[in-house]
Amino acid sequence: MTGAEPLVRIRALRKSFGTHLVLDAVDLDVREGEVTVLLGPSGSGKSTLLRCVNHLERPDAGFVEVAGELVGYRHRCSRLHELGHRAINRQRARVGMVFQQFNLFPHLTVLDNIIEAPLAVRGVPRKQAEVRARELLARVGLAGREGAYPRQLSGGQQQRVAIARALAMEPQLLLFDEPTSALDPELVGEVLAVMRDLAESGMTMIVVTHEIGFAREVADTVVFLDGGRIIESGSPEDVLANPRHERARAFLAAVL
């Protein structure tokens, strides 16, 4: 298992917005079945790093590889050719993403939110997609809510629907971009419980979060970013209990 090629390989990734360098030569491996938590102050590049993994951001240099395939580019004759929309969509379909603001489609019911992509992208028959969607809703604790519109649900329920929507594509990898930051404190627990359950079932996950407790209990690897660089990386015990870097120590002292 440990000898196998990592599911995600990120090498020398660099990205800037204008003159602001957001990611500065980031290297990261994520093995299959592992949970990687990205920590760091806001503006440290965590979200941008996550968004590069499914090519929502285009890196300036370096590369991301998922399951041995370059993301967003084809390597040929010492050049990287950007892929067309169709090929990028095929790659994105294997990587699920959960957003801070949920981004459910407000004009579609919960059921239609979940089956939209399986129908349109994977060509699953409607009946089968609906059965699967109901299973997923039960799994995130929302059985029977398939007819509701997103606005009729609480934030925590919306985020759990968003997780079900991502799972409906049978992804190899799930990306979470601050999934609990927009929630009322009392609703955070229900979303983290679903994520913990997913982690235990062996889902590969990359999670940007400020929930240190979640990182400590669930993460296999904790990565600490600051100023676009990874300054700490290792098991939760090492990084959270004995941070070597001054910046990480200050951050953890502030959030704990």
């Binding site: 969509n89 957003f99 981004n103 489609f105 407000p106």
Partner: protein
């Protein structure tokens, strides 16, 4: 003690009015000594009175009654003649032309307008500036001038040819035969609708959060699917009201084609009054038809808006009748003015 608390709490609900307190009670509280809790709890709430609203409503009602009165009693409106011509054959022909010209112009204009909006939002600077230029030009030129221009195109370009740009021509047309009044009207009005609708569509598309597109992209949905299934339906609540406005405006703006001798509803009635000099009654005939059509379109717009309000908080759950009553306070139980006792 707890039982008396509960009874006090229920007394606060005005649905079951307490026996009215003695008339002297409120006066004595207003004067000086502080009222007991029981007195305050048993007092009946009286909403703020709004005499101004009622006075203005009365003034408007009197003015409205005067309008109805003069419409009915001024014999110079000649309602008899209006009735005679209301279903006249050439009026109905004009009505038909107005209807299909509006429909055709709106359909073609919106197809073009969506394209122009897409160009404007495109990352390609050439497309985006061409789109900007088109909208700028069409919106700058008065519609009347544009119509006359297309109608008189033959004097500017006696012939038009298809061929290699700046090179050889394969086919040549005489424009004098090409641009009849009706085609000039169609082209001019379509370009006008395209320019204005593109801005409406663009505004609607921009009103949809960026996160919606990103979530759809992250699921691997194709660009066309995202536009058709995710972005456009969410843009519709912003697009529909302005489009209803444009449609109703265009219904009446088609009457401008009378300047290039196209026999629409208005021009048909003008042709009749040029012969019998019954100017006012025939203008009323045309106006009544415009009123009827606008009413139908407004009702249609109401239902379209309600359809696209799905899943939003401001979903119009009210029926048409309720909405009507709500907007006519003197009839409505739902009107705000009704809540105030006189």
């Amino acid at each position: 003690m707890p039982s008396s608390d509960i009874s006090a709490a229920t007394a606060r609900i005005p649905a079951a009015p307490e026996p009215p307190p003695p008339a002297s009670a409120p006066r004595s509280t207003a004067a000086g000594p502080r009222a007991t809790d029981e007195q305050v709890l048993s007092a009946k709430p009286v909403p703020l009175r709004r005499p101004g609203q009622w006075a203005s409503a009365l003034v408007l009602l009197v003015l409205f009654a005067m309008l109805v009165h003069t419409l009915l009693t001024n014999s110079r409106f000649q309602w008899g003649i209006v009735g005679t011509y209301f279903l006249n054959g050439s009026i109905l022909h004009g009505l038909e032309l107005t209807l299909w010209l509006t429909a055709a112009v709106m359909a073609a204009g919106y197809v073009l307008g969506i394209g122009v909006a897409a160009m404007r939002l495109s990352a390609n600077p050439v497309l985006s500036s061409l789109s900007f230029g088109f909208v700028w030009l069409i919106r700058s030129v008065p519609l009347l001038v544009q119509l006359l221009f297309w109608y008189e195109l033959a004097s500017l370009y006696p012939q038009v040819s298809l061929g290699i740009p700046f090179g050889e021509a394969f086919v040549t047309f005489r424009t004098a035969h090409l641009f009849s009044g009706i085609l000039a009207a169609f082209v001019g009005l379509t370009l006008d609708v395209a320019a204005f609708s593109s801005e409406i569509v663009r505004g609607g598309l921009l009103s949809v959060e960026r996160g919606q597109t990103e979530a759809a992209q992250a699921l691997g949905l194709g660009r066309l699917r995202i536009f058709r299934r995710i972005v456009l339906p969410q843009a519709m609540p912003a697009i529909v009201p302005a489009s209803g406005n444009l449609l109703i405006g265009m219904l009446k703006a088609t009457s401008i084609v009378s300047v290039i001798a196209v026999q629409d509803l208005l021009y048909s009635s003008q042709l009749i009054y040029n012969q019998n000099f019954e100017i006012i009654p025939l203008l009323l005939v045309a106006t009544l038809w415009y009123v009827i059509l606008t009413t139908l379109l407004s009702i249609g717009q109401f239902f379209v808006e309600r359809h696209f309000a799905r899943g939003t908080n401001r979903a119009a759950r009210k029926g048409l009748w309720e909405l009507f009553r709500g907007n006519v306070p003197l009839l409505g139980r739902t009107g705000t003015a009704q809540g105030d006792p006189i």
